[in-house]
């Protein structure tokens, strides 16, 4: 090629540069030009971006399509022959075997696997080299750090990253989709973390950043330390160091959980201990807990009173406490050496407050660990004084009770004997009563038989059955007759009383009119009335209905009352007054006289058996004294009563009150 041709070619090259704006177009055009004009068969143009330690392909010529693909070469990659070639001044031949194959860390060069000869045209300056070495050293250092280290620009773009950071934030095209996805996610998380905080705050900021491990998809927790760096040449950047705290966090969480558990267990233990203390303190009996060596480890307040010295204790009190201590220690020592799990014994203590003997029942139990080792001995002391006192009192009570029982038994036997006696007496009485009734009945019969003859013959003599009788004899005969009749009355009255007492006076109810009965009575007593010269007035009242009762007994009562009135009335009148009380359903028959009367003090006595007020042998009035007694009994049999109003010397009113309708 001539000099002019060469000049023309250079002009063409310049014209080509002028017409192109993109650096890659220019580079590609230049390499094309060199191939055509200078006969360069294969060439690559690498450019270094300002401020970066990277060489980026701007163009390639003479390579197969695959090998001419754009690639990047780090200036710190000292193992890359290209970098070595670029930084070496002299010509260097690179044998094929010199290049180690590490696809992940060192991107392929067009010279990979091939031997080549490097002729430096424009060597790097010495300064550049030194800087290059320092950088290389720096890269080695940051690569050696296992924590990811990054330098990003203000827009979050990655400028420098160490190997660990690259594994998190960069992935080659050929990597799996999962990993690339993880890397994209990590980049987003990082730029978000940096943009939100790091730029705004000057100085170091520290926070947590959760990333995804591209290898297995697990969570990785990092502590992000980012510092903004100001560089006059390269502008503002952010240096971030990520410290893996995943394990640390887990450990810390575990520690925290353990701590919480510990705290809870401790609180529970304290609560239980408090509760136990409360229980022990609230027990009135002394409780002592002794350890395996026999030393006291716990005692409640009642126990303290027994085994600890009071503050201002006298010598005597001290001796009592010491004696208690010695007794108790001896008991515990016995317990410790024995194989018994439980032991009950009696200890003779002293009450240190009073110096009184205080026998206690000691109940001790061993507390064993899971492995059967003796942990403690718990002893409860129970004051026996009260129990002993109670036993003593019980014994006394029992004695008293036994004594009482003996007395009661004796009394019961006595009562039984008395009852038997009474029963026999009652039988005897009943028999005696029956005998009396029978006797009276027989007596009555025996009286009547001769009386029958006396009265009968008297009557026959008076009638002149045996011939005419002189008037004087006739008068004497009438005396025999009246005395005989009186004797008969007495016999009849005695018989009535014995019949009533024997319950052999049955009621025979009938319905009848009282006026007829009253007139009958008056008619029967007519001879006496005539003799007595006393006026008898009968007042039968009005509107009187028939009554139902035992007619014969009513008649007997009225007869008796009227004959009594006639007997004790010497002048004046005797009134028979019949009345009735509709509201009370009763009738009354009153016998009113103007006779001798009865003193108030004597009014009850006259109703008693065989009672006449004048009991003297020479009494003025005859009679058995049974009449009123029989009347009162008969009235009671008819559910009625006899009442008396009387004044001595003025007269008496006997009133018989009967129910309109009597009951059996």
């Amino acid at each position: 090629m001539t000099r002019d041709d060469l000049l023309a070619a250079r002009l063409r090259l310049l014209e080509g540069f002028i017409s192109r704006t993109e650096i890659t177009d220019c580079a590609q055009y230049a390499l094309q030009w060199a191939g055509e004009v200078l006969g360069v068969s294969r060439s690559i143009c690498l450019v270094r971006a300002a401020g970066e330690q990277l060489l980026i392909t701007a163009g390639a010529f003479g390579f197969a399509a695959a090998k001419g693909a754009p690639f990047t070469v780090s200036l710190e990659d000292w193992s890359n022959p290209l970098i070595v070639a670029l930084t070496t001044r002299s010509e260097t031949a690179f044998p094929a075997v010199q290049v180690p194959v590490d696809r992940r860390r060192r991107p392929a060069t067009p010279f990979q696997g091939a031997a080549f000869h490097a002729i430096p045209q424009q060597a790097l300056t010495e300064g550049d080299r030194r800087q290059g070495r320092e950088r290389s050293l720096l890269y080695s250092i940051i690569n050696a750090v296992t924590d990811p280290i990054l330098l990003t620009d203000t827009e979050g773009r990655l400028l420098i990253a160490n190997a660990r950071a690259l594994s998190l934030f960069s992935a080659a095209e050929e990597e799996s989709e999962g990993r690339r996805g993880a890397v994209r996610m990590n980049n987003m998380l990082l730029s978000s973390a940096l943009s939100s905080k790091a730029i705004e705050e000057a100085g170091a900021a520290r926070r947590e950043l959760l990333l995804v491990n591209p290898v297995d998809g697990s969570d990785l927790l990092f502590e992000l330390l980012s510092t903004v760096t100001e560089d006059s040449r390269h502008g503002t950047g952010v240096v971030s160091i990520l410290r893996n705290v995943t394990d640390l966090r887990r450990a810390s969480e575990e520690i925290e959980a353990n701590y919480r558990r510990l705290r809870a267990a401790e609180a529970q233990a304290r609560a239980e201990s408090d509760r136990l203390n409360l229980i022990i303190d609230s027990v009135a009996d002394p409780i002592v807990v002794t350890d395996a060596a026999g030393a006291t480890s716990l005692m409640n307040e009642p126990a303290e009173r027994l085994f600890t010295m009071p503050i201002h204790s006298s010598a005597l009190e001290q001796r009592w406490v010491q004696a208690n201590d010695a007794h108790f220690s001896s008991f515990i020592a016995g317990m410790l050496v024995s194989a018994d799990q439980r032991r009950v014994g009696e200890i003779g203590l002293m009450d240190p407050r009073t110096g009184d003997a205080m026998p206690v029942e000691a109940i001790a139990g061993k507390i064993l660990s899971e492995h059967g080792e003796l942990n403690a001995v718990v002893t409860i002391l129970h004051d026996r004084r009260e129990a002993l006192e109670k036993a003593r009192l019980y014994e006394q009570l029992k004695e008293a009770s036994d004594e009482l029982e003996r007395k009661v038994q004796a009394a019961t036997a006595d009562i039984a004997q008395q009852n038997e006696l009474l029963r026999r007496q009652a039988i005897e009485l009943e028999q005696a009563s029956a005998l009396k009734t029978q006797f009276l009945a027989n007596m009555s019969h025996e009286f009547r038989t001769p009386l029958n003859a006396i009265l009968g013959y008297t009557s026959m003599l008076q009638q002149g059955v045996a011939g005419r009788i002189e008037p004087g004899v006739k008068r004497q005969l009438s005396r025999i007759e009246s005395n005989g009749r009186h004797l008969l009355t007495i016999i009849n009255e005695i018989l009535d009383i014995s019949r009533i007492e024997a319950g052999r006076m049955p009621l025979q109810l009938s319905r009848f009119r009282l006026p007829e009965l009253v007139n009958e009575v008056k008619a029967e007593l007519e001879p006496i009335i005539i003799r007595s010269k006393v006026g008898v007035i009968v007042d039968l009242g009005r509107g009187l209905r028939p009554i139902t009762t035992d007619r014969q007994k009513v008649k007997q009562i009225v007869l008796n009352l009227l004959s009594n009135a006639l007997k004790f009335t010497h002048h004046g009148t005797v009134s028979l007054i019949v009345g009735h009380d509709a509201a009370e359903k009763t009738v009354t028959i009153a016998v009113k006289d103007t006779g001798i009367g009865i003193a108030a003090a004597d009014q009850d006595k006259i109703f008693e058996d065989f009672r006449q007020l004048d009991n003297s042998p020479t009494r003025a009035y005859g009679g058995t004294g049974l009449g009123l007694s029989i009347c009162r009994r008969l009235a009671q049999m008819l559910n009625g009563r006899i009442s008396l109003q009387s004044e001595l010397g003025k007269g008496s009113v006997f009133t018989l009150t009967l129910p309109l309708r009597g009951r059996k």
Partner: protein
């Protein structure tokens, strides 16, 4: 001992001679033909032999008492028609009841005056023979001395 056919015949049974004699004398005085017996057995025999118009029967009798004698008289067809008037010194309520159960037609309590007894005999005889078709009123107490 056959008497006048016009005079009613009375069999008087009583173990107490004074009473028997007294009533007998008065009954004869009053116009009765009187046959006497002193115990129940004798009374049955005399009632069968003499066919009296009426029997006055004391109840407390030796050998055979008045109740038993009355039962036997009333059980015998030949004597069942003769009225029996019980005559006793027993005054207790049960006695007259027992007498009525034994078959007595009337009951008189001693003491009874001879004239009262005669009135009662007359009353019973006027009512007609015992066991006749004419219904008789229930036996009543004769009037006794009170």
């Amino acid at each position: 001992m056959k008497g006048n056919a016009d005079r009613p015949r009375v069999l008087l049974v009583d173990d107490y001679p004074d009473a028997r004699e007294m009533y007998s004398e008065y009954l004869q005085f009053s116009g009765f033909d009187v046959i006497e017996a002193s115990n129940g057995m004798e009374a049955i025999q005399k009632a069968a032999d003499s066919r009296p118009d009426i029997i006055l029967m004391d109840l407390s009798l030796p050998v055979m008492d008045g109740w038993e004698a009355t039962r036997r008289l009333k059980a015998n067809k030949r004597t069942a028609g003769i009225p029996v008037v019980a005559l006793t010194g027993h005054a207790l309520a049960g006695v007259s009841e027992d007498a009525r159960k034994a078959g007595c037609d009337a009951f008189v309590t001693k003491p009874c005056l001879p004239e009262d007894l005669v009135r009662e005999i007359q009353r019973v005889l006027d009512e007609g023979p015992a066991g006749s078709k004419k219904p008789r009123r229930s036996a009543r107490h004769a009037k006794t001395i009170s």
